[in-house]
Assembly symmetry: C2
Homo-oligomer: 314 residues x 2
């Protein structure tokens, strides 16, 4: 039995939206999967009360505490071991669950990833991977989209390697093309970090580097893996989300713009750590939670985390 | 008589698109304005041959040389004093024209701005201002959108001051709200540059600082002036342009998205230098050129460049 844990207390509409989304996912998961709801007993039971679901597919683990959205991540994580996030990482670390998802405090999810699971091999910083929609109907993977605001060239190079492995194993991309997000295609363009990173990527034999990618190329699929720091990546990604929200109010119904809706993919994996961790948007709806859980299932099936471990530990 | 010079040789579709756009603008400019086309004699005459226009409104100044799009800006600018860009800056510096516009090599336009015109007062780096469309139908001003890939906090603070003056005098914004582009609203969020810049902006009495602006806020008008470095600003701005281009192919006709079309504003001013300089997109069409010239006219009328000079030289 494989188990996907979900933080029932994380997110602006928790626990209701989380429990509803988990129930929706439950009926879609294969028979050998179970969802583990983590959170306060009474609140979870209240939410489950009126819902119909296959009881065998949803398990509960109780957590007495909650890390709120705006708490200081490191402090809250260490001071609240019985929070839903604290318990989730404990279960994941012990192998009692195969993935842990939360729409709660992203910083605390990073802290748990770093200090409970730890990074693979010599990886300095784990990135958050964003699914960035393309005109051709597919996605490119953008990393980092928010975990690391300042990134040295070496860190960006590791993102390129990690992203390539994620694309290859989780999304079956063949020899994924790596692009460096920059302000010109020429190799001397960009800020000092981008210039130095270009040289590292160009000389890296582990990746298929195709050069710089500009803002105007983002929807064209010139690259499968888009390497950038968590500052620029986060702002771009959120601008896309804002654009979708605006379009929805204007009844624009377009396949590319619709996929800028965070609910479609549902979550963003934190990769390069010893476990499957997925973070969701604070405003996650049941639909988003359902899709985040299905993303976790695919990630477990793909064994991408084990592959990344294997490569980075050698 | 006020004169607006335009580089007839600059841009992927020069000189044809430039001359056509200039002719379109000519009939829209007030009587006391003239357009000065700068470029190779035969090529300009060829383009003008089949067009009808009020002869008194278009003047020609001949330049024997051209700085190509991918030439090294500093080298080309110094080695080609008789290029259309070189001649344009000479005319502007001498006061023979009141503005100079080009859709050619942006780097060379920056070099001319820096070394021929020079920056005002103690300004370290002149930014390029992007008109960023808002849901409410207006624009916020984003700076920098590409001239300065690396920006220290002090430089970003000067952008905030410059942008405020530009908003106030060129766009009649009352007490323009300044926002710092960042990855969270809280003051401790962001990369080290953003964190340090926040403190400078917070303590700056010359501006109306409203705090951090996230990617998801960009269309909401929380700020009139959006401060960012030319790396992030450029990528965002170009992503907007790409989105418009995509939308046009899908027959999406929406007022906000339509204004992401670079042709609507037509150009982006380089501000904080001793003269009115506007740069255009390399792919500029006649429509874009026409609007760039009309933007130059408005900028001249507003006397914003003189106001900025006045404030920064004191």
């Amino acid at each position: 039995m494989k188990k996907i844990a979900i933080d029932a207390m994380g997110g602006d509409f928790a626990p209701n939206a989380i429990v509803k989304g988990a129930v929706q996912a439950a009926s879609l998961l294969p028979d050998d999967y179970q969802i583990v709801l983590i959170g306060k007993k009474d609140e979870m039971l209240n939410c489950l009360h009126d819902l119909e679901y296959p009881a065998s597919k949803i398990e509960m683990v109780f957590a007495t505490d909650v890390i709120e959205m705006h708490e200081h991540p490191t402090r809250a994580f260490s001071q609240k071991p019985n929070s839903s996030i604290g318990v989730g990482f404990k279960l994941l670390k012990e192998g009692q669950v195969q993935a842990f998802c939360s729409a709660g405090n992203t910083g605390a999810m990073m802290v748990g990833s770093l200090f409970t699971l730890r990074t693979v091999g010599n990886l300095q910083r784990p990135p958050i991977v964003g699914y960035f929609p393309l005109k051709n109907g597919g996605y490119s993977l953008m990393l980092d989209i928010g975990a690391n605001a300042d990134c040295k060239p070496e860190v960006l190079m590791q993102f390129a390697e990690l992203g390539s492995l994620y694309g290859k194993f989780a999304l079956n991309m063949e020899n994924p093309k790596v692009g460096l997000l920059n302000i010109g295609h020429e190799e001397e363009k960009g800020n000092t970090t981008a210039q130095a990173t270009f040289q590292l990527l160009k000389n890296n034999k582990k990746i298929n580097f195709v050069g710089n990618i500009e803002g105007r190329d983002l929807f064209d699929g010139l690259a499968d893996i888009i390497v950038t720091d968590g500052f620029t990546g986060n702002i771009l990604y959120k601008m896309g989300e804002a654009l979708y929200e605006y379009s929805a109010t204007k009844n624009i119904n377009d396949p590319l713009i619709n996929k800028m809706n965070y609910e479609v993919v549902g979550g963003s994996p934190i990769i390069g750590v010893n476990g499957n961790v997925i973070v969701g948007h604070g405003i996650s709806t049941p639909l988003a939670i359902k899709n985040m859980i299905l993303l976790a299932q695919k990630q477990i099936e793909s064994k991408v985390t084990e592959k990344i471990k294997e490569v980075f530990n050698n």
